[in-house]
């Protein structure tokens, strides 16, 4: 019993930031007395919008650059691309893909510049990134408000009503709004299946060519999963029942919970049976998986939970992209480049003596992050539907970084798990805290202050804690040396 208590204590202490925010969220929910289904719907839609931006922070963090406030620059690249795509009248998915096509080289170029800057301000990347965000936003404003139409001739009365200077807000309805979200789940399955198969084949071929050992088991697994998704996506549309449930672009959480839970149970049971046959004893995780599956399914029967489930609609394509981002982050860390990044992140001196080009590795990490951030901003804007042309990028870095820190990330360590948990918690608090404050104070004007205070406060506290730990460690070392 004591042992259990101790391990519980340790678990809470290890996840103290998360625990603190869970308590805060629950307290705010209790005070606000809003329906849970409203909060759940809001949080899930915010999740699909913001997760990709947050996931773009992980790679530079592992490369020792800290929290990359420079993702603002990626967001700016995305906004410029949207602007041109709207001007030339492209709409729908084609227009969205064109945005991706335009924004990627732009983001790579910007990322390269940002990386150069970071290499010149080693040890102060975060403050440099923050100021760079403001600086870049200033240049962007100069470009869209004065140079476009003012210096460069540009005729578009719809975008530039005065002949120069972009209009303040632009409605993307009918052009890019929901361009990605409107893809049906079955199509998403096809795309993900193809990507999985191609990725597996390419990596093993590449490894073979380089003479490295080929992870045949892993590759096979990827191919099988990819093929399953592909077959499901293609065959599914001819089966009326499946087409009815999964043919639409937005899945209702009830269905996802039902079938997801079922899949979890089946997977866990098969695994358990297999490992029992082999005589392995470690089954805790698998049993937990099965229980989670049962709970998910049970939720669909309980009316209160079912109501929440029914309120939530998941845009399947956005979630598909989030999954791909997570896989990408994991995959790159397994490659040679990723290993180099990790080494650079841990100790630049060691990395240099191991023959790694530190500066180049850091620039590549920044470029990847900037590109991912640009795509993330595209996903954000196509979901939101209104494009606040001049200031849209301003809070991108702030909210994303606050979110990942809430999820338990530190300046030196961030994973997909931190990002996912962080986005959920941070945005739950973002939704409920103003409601709770309004209830207490009786005035809604205060909610903006509370949101900003939470965001800045989270970053301030976690940066201070990190710096404190670093200083303490240094002092320890010094004391030991003496």
């Amino acid at each position: 019993m004591n042992k259990l208590l101790n391990s519980l204590k340790k678990a809470i202490f290890d996840n103290k930031v998360i625990a603190l925010f869970v308590v805060l969220c629950v307290a705010c929910m209790a005070i606000a007395e809003t329906s849970v289904s409203y909060i759940a719907a809001e949080v899930f839609s915010r999740f699909s919008r913001n997760a990709c931006l947050v996931l773009s922070l992980i790679i530079p963090c592992l490369a020792g650059l800290g929290m990359n406030f420079g993702i603002v620059v990626g967001a700016i690249a995305a906004q410029i691309s949207i602007f041109f795509v709207v001007h030339f009248g492209f709409t729908g998915l084609g227009g969205f893909m064109l945005c991706v096509l335009i924004s990627t080289p732009l983001a790579i170029f910007f990322g390269w510049l940002v990386g150069k800057l970071y290499n010149n301000t080693k040890g102060a990347e975060m403050i440099a990134g923050l100021i760079l965000g403001f600086f870049a936003a200033g240049l962007y404003r100069l470009f869209v408000l004065y140079i476009l139409g003012g210096v460069i001739p540009f005729d578009d009365p719809n975008l530039l009503p005065r002949g120069f200077g972009l209009r303040n807000a632009y409605d993307l309805t009918g052009s890019l709004k929901y361009a990605l979200d409107d893809i049906s789940f079955l199509n998403v399955c096809v795309v993900i299946g193809i990507i999985a198969i191609v990725a597996a084949v390419v990596t093993s071929a590449y490894a073979k060519k380089k003479g490295q050992t080929v992870d045949k088991n892993g590759a096979m697994k990827k191919v099988v999963i990819g093929a399953a998704a592909l077959v499901f996506g293609i065959v599914g549309r001819f089966i009326p029942m499946v087409n009815l449930l999964f043919g639409s672009s937005r899945l209702i959480l009830t269905d996802v919970a039902l079938f997801g839970g079922l899949a979890l149970i089946v997977y866990a049971v098969i695994k358990i049976l297999l490992s029992l046959k082999k005589g392995e004893k470690k089954l805790g995780k698998l049993i937990a998986m099965a229980v989670a599956g049962v709970l998910l399914m049970a939720g669909t029967v309980i009316p209160a939970v079912r109501e929440i489930y029914q309120a939530v609609q998941l845009p399947s394509a956005a979630y598909g992209v989030i999954v791909l981002f997570c896989f990408f982050n994991n995959w790159i860390m397994e490659t040679r480049l990723g290993q180099n990044m990790r080494t650079v992140g841990q100790n630049r001196g060691v990395a240099t003596s191991a023959g790694i080009n530190v500066d180049k590795t850091r620039i590549i990490a920044t470029c990847i992050s900037t590109v991912l951030a640009a795509w993330g901003q595209l996903i954000f804007l196509q979901n939101l539907g209104t494009f606040n042309t001049v200031q849209q990028q301003d809070n991108v870095g702030l909210y994303s970084i606050a979110a990942i820190l809430v999820g338990g990330a530190t300046v030196q360590k961030a994973t997909n798990r931190h990002a996912v948990i962080g986005v959920i918690l941070f945005h739950t608090l973002f939704v409920v805290a103003p409601l709770a404050a309004t209830k207490i104070v009786g005035d809604s004007a205060i909610s903006e202050y509370i949101r900003m205070f939470i965001s800045y406060g989270v970053i301030a506290v976690s940066l201070a804690l990190h710096a404190w730990k670093t200083v303490a460690k240094k002092d320890d070392k010094k004391a030991n040396a003496e």
Binding site: G123, A124, L130, F134, G138, L145, Y146, I459
Partner: protein, 362 residues
């Protein structure tokens, strides 16, 4: 040979300062050519110089004690807002005026300065202790502490228990309104002392003298034993420790002095502006102060009072002269905010690159 000399001279002046100076000169010339009333804008430049110079001066102690520019001066600013508010709340100016006619505003101003100063000193000590825990990442931490404190105080201002009708929301009866008029207490007090005009440019003598006085006091402070110890701490902490200086204590003193100057600065700013602005108005002030001192020629670890005086003048001149000129060139626009954003942050970035940041992890 000459090329080298030229390069050296450029290094001494610094590229950003040169660019900013040329830019300002060009703008003034364009303004003059276009028939814009240069004199009235020079008048406001003088006024704004006086309003900002003490806030910028707050950067000096932290730079000298090795922390770098104090982005968190906003802490001192929000603490400094309380003094003027209390002096209005307690009706200091009218009360003293009833006894000693004419002295009311002075009493109100000094009351505000003392209250703000004491509060800021205490806040600064706590703040300095926090900064001692985070050595090496002061800049990032101060920025975010500054931001979060401003928003925390926004929540406080919103429902603070003030009862004076001049402060509270017109309908609510509590809190602090968006901008509180200083007319009944000490608005414009220093500006009007001994002010005269020369060639149509109005000189706020009292304000300038008072600011120069405070600059001089700070200058003298850095000649005292404590001041020298603070400078030694910044120049070489190891050496300072070896010669028996308590480095951490000196850093706390530097931060406290900076916070105090920030509080005094906002009191002076408020009297010059004529309105007290709580809420998000101080948000960008920290960055403006940092940029001003850097334009004046300071670096991340070296600054003089001359840097402050020159830098504030250049920065404010830029901010004040750009709008009319841009309006002339592109009718109906105000490019000044965008230009300010670019120049201000560009200067800070340049200084960061020049100082090469820290170099932990190597």
């Amino acid at each position: 040979m000459t090329k080298e000399k030229f390069k050296k001279a450029l290094d001494v002046i610094g590229i950003p300062r040169l660019i900013v100076f040329c830019f300002l000169l060009a703008i003034v010339i364009v303004a003059y050519v276009n028939g814009i009333d240069v004199k009235s804008y020079l008048t406001s430049t003088m006024k704004y110089w006086g309003m900002w110079v003490i806030l910028v001066l707050a950067m000096i102690p932290t730079i000298k004690c090795g922390i770098g520019p104090n982005y968190g001066v906003s802490l001192g600013i929000v603490a400094g807002l309380l003094g003027p508010l209390l002096s209005i709340q307690f009706n200091i100016a009218p009360a003293v005026n009833a006894v000693l006619p004419g002295f009311g505003p002075w009493a109100a101003m000094f009351f505000a300065m003392i209250v703000s100063g004491v509060l800021a000193w205490l806040v600064g000590i706590v703040y300095g202790k926090i900064l001692n825990l985070v050595k090496g990442s002061e800049m990032t931490v101060t920025t975010y502490i500054g931001y979060s404190v401003i928003y925390l105080m926004c929540i406080v201002w919103f429902r603070a228990p003030f009862s004076s009708g001049e402060i509270t929301w017109p309908l609510g009866g509590v809190g602090v309104r968006n901008s509180v008029s200083m007319e009944t207490s000490f608005g414009g007090l220093l500006n009007d002392v001994l002010s005269f005009s020369i060639f149509g440019v109005e000189i706020p003598t009292g304000l300038i003298l008072f600011c120069l006085l405070i600059c001089f006091v700070v200058y003298l402070f850095f000649r005292t034993k404590t001041g020298l110890a603070i400078q030694a701490t910044g120049a070489n902490p190891t050496f300072a420790r070896a010669s028996g200086i308590d480095v951490d204590k000196m850093r706390v003193k530097g931060v406290a002095l900076s916070t105090l100057l920030g509080a005094l600065g906002i009191v002076i700013y408020t009297q010059g502006f004529g309105y007290l602005q709580a809420y998000t108005a101080p948000l960008q002030m920290g960055f403006i102060c940092v940029a001003s001192v850097l334009i004046g020629g300071a670096t991340m670890n070296k600054a003089t009072i001359m840097n402050v005086i020159i830098g504030t003048f250049l920065y404010q001149g830029l901010v004040i002269f750009t709008p009319p000129v841009s309006n002339q060139l592109l009718a109906g626009t105000d490019i000044s905010d965008t230009m300010r954003q670019i120049i201000q942050n560009g200067v800070i970035l340049y200084a960061l690159v020049k100082s090469k940041g820290g170099s932990s992890n190597e």
